[in-house]
């Protein structure tokens, strides 16, 4: 069953087309990642799917409800973790959850009954009376995640759920998100951390300039779009070396003071590095990040 379906979605702000003819399909129970550089249209796509922004054209079905026509009914069964925390600073941890549950029309007793479970999930048991401004960034993120779960949603939208977190906090969030997929919830997340996408997502779509440019499982994307081996080389003389190996194997790319060689077999290139003590190199398998950079380019987006 399809949890989220979008067809020919378009949204422009003045002359700037932010989403330009987007099709999306997210199956129930999967973790779907929307990747893209800054300004690719990821956040606007999420807002369109939630019915918060009205599309110029296109159709959206969220949990079987047409959006934006019946966005309110759809949101009743959806949770949202926004890119920037907007917890209520006037309330404690527990009050944030209680007040938020009321927005879904839940009875106070029903929310109170869920409180202990949500606090445990967020790793905030015993902190229910803490003020929001005393929480660390990771704690706030987890509380925002718990808040998004207060109505026991079938589908969760997350906009860059681990941006700005330290590795410990990030791993804890990942562990919790895996737990949610095991419980059968559908997750739709945007990210520009390839590692996050590779670890969490069953399926990915890479988006740039408002359009989908590739979609599939992380392995499919790597297999389809990039050579399996990568050699990164940098140091004095890298330029001269690059000219020599250009015809030895695969694709050679230059970024800053580094040279990247992509190939099915990098052995001849590796051999040419022997005795080049000035050059440092890293030989590794191709990753999603290589796919991302190949498809969206290395130019800065800001």
């Amino acid at each position: 069953m399809s949890a989220l379906k979008a067809r020919a979605l378009r949204k422009a702000y003045g002359a700037l087309e932010v989403v330009g003819g987007l099709d999306l399909d997210v199956a129930a129970g999967e973790c779907f990642g929307l990747l893209g550089p800054n300004g690719a249209g990821k956040t606007t796509t999420l807002r369109l799917c939630l019915g918060l922004t009205h599309p110029d054209a296109g159709e959206i079905q969220l949990l079987g409800e047409p959006v934006p026509a019946r966005a309110r009914e759809a949101r009743q069964r959806v949770g949202v973790v926004p890119q920037f925390d907007n917890l209520d600073p006037d309330f404690t941890v527990a009050e944030n959850l209680l007040v938020y549950g009321r927005y879904f029309g839940m009875a106070p007793r029903a929310i109170e009954a869920k409180l202990a479970g949500l606090l445990e999930f967020a790793g905030l048991a015993g902190r229910e009376d803490a003020r929001i401004n005393t929480l660390s960034g990771g704690m706030k993120r987890r509380l925002t995640l718990a808040r998004a779960l207060v109505n026991d949603p079938q589908l969760l939208f997350m906009d860059e759920p681990t941006t700005g977190l330290d590795p410990q906090a990030r791993h804890l969030i990942w562990e919790r998100l895996r737990r949610l997929t095991q419980e059968g919830k559908t997750l739709v997340l945007t990210t520009h951390f390839m590692e996050e996408a590779e670890r969490l997502c069953h399926r990915l779509a890479i988006m740039d300039r408002g359009r989908l440019i590739a979609a599939g499982t992380p392995r499919e994307l790597i297999a389809a779009h990039i050579e399996p081996q990568v050699l990164e080389v940098h140091g004095n003389g890298a330029d001269a070396w690059m000219e020599r190996v250009r015809n030895l194997a695969g694709r050679v790319e230059r970024a800053g003071d580094s040279v990247f060689v992509y190939a099915a077999d990098v052995a001849p290139v590796l051999a040419s590095l022997a005795g080049q003590s000035e050059l440092a190199y890293l030989h590794r398998p191709a990753s999603l990040e290589d796919v991302f950079l190949k498809l969206t380019g290395r130019d800065l987006r800001d």
Binding site: L52, H54, Q76
Partner: protein, 249 residues
């Protein structure tokens, strides 16, 4: 009735800070009331058949209600909308910007009503509002609160930054307070200025409240109520229209 969840959220925050909040809403008007009322009032003969302080108490009831409604819907509302992004969080739930606008206006009007009611209670304790008719000032105070909450929220959803509100405060609210019969009878005003006052909501609140405080039924009740209701309804409609554009563009 989904707006009640938003009203309730604001009420719960207010309950935590109730003493500071009530004090800040009442300190200013009460200092003015007793300072000017007794100090200046001692120099004045009775005004419209009342002591000056009773005359001024009726005006203060209205102006305090107006200021509380305006401050809450503009400064506190803007902080919730812009600073804290509380509205954004509410919009992920099955609530809409229309619910938020309604909840915010009802909340600001409620808080304003409390200011008006407290001024009335203080006036009653000092024997300035002895007639049973003063009870009727309570619904009027709510209506004044509603009118200014709605207009204030229009300013909030239009505002790009905090400075925006100073224009409304300085250029509209302060002069309106001067010409609406809060401090002195409007008969003192030149005719064109009086006509300006009559087009604004505060004048109509004062015209309803002052006779009631003096123990008389007001005249032209329907017109006064209608103007206040019109400001509330027009403000509500405009705030929704502008907020929709701001939030779902």
């Amino acid at each position: 009735m989904r707006w009640i969840a938003i009203w309730r959220r604001n009420f719960l925050v207010w309950r935590k800070l109730v003493i500071a909040s009530v004090l800040s809403n009442l300190a200013d008007p009460l200092i003015m009331l007793f300072g000017l009322g007794y100090g200046l009032g001692a120099l004045l003969p009775s005004v419209e058949g009342m002591s000056y302080i009773a005359f001024f108490a009726a005006g203060t009831l209205c102006s305090a209600t107006m200021f509380t409604a305006s401050f809450e819907s503009m400064f506190s509302g803007f902080s919730r909308m812009y600073g804290q992004k509380t509205w954004d969080a509410i919009l992920y739930a099955p609530l809409t910007i229309d619910d938020i606008v309604a909840g915010e206006i009802m909340w600001s009007a409620s808080k304003a009503w409390l200011s008006g009611a407290t001024i009335l209670a203080v006036a009653a304790v000092f024997g300035l509002a002895a007639s049973p008719l003063v009870v009727l000032t309570l619904p009027v105070a709510f209506l004044v609160g509603l009118a200014f909450a709605a207009v204030g929220l229009v300013m909030t959803v239009l505002a790009k930054n905090w400075d925006f509100f100073s224009f409304y405060m300085t250029l509209i609210m302060t002069p309106m307070t001067m010409i609406s019969g809060v401090f002195f009878p409007v008969e003192q005003l030149p005719r064109p200025v009086l006509m300006v006052a009559q087009a604004l909501p505060l004048y109509h609140g004062v015209e309803l409240v002052r006779p009631l405080v003096a123990g008389r039924m007001p005249t032209n009740i329907a017109i006064h109520l209608l103007v206040l209701l019109a400001y509330a309804a027009a403000g509500y409609a405009a705030a929704i229209m502008i907020a929709r554009r701001r939030f779902s563009a």
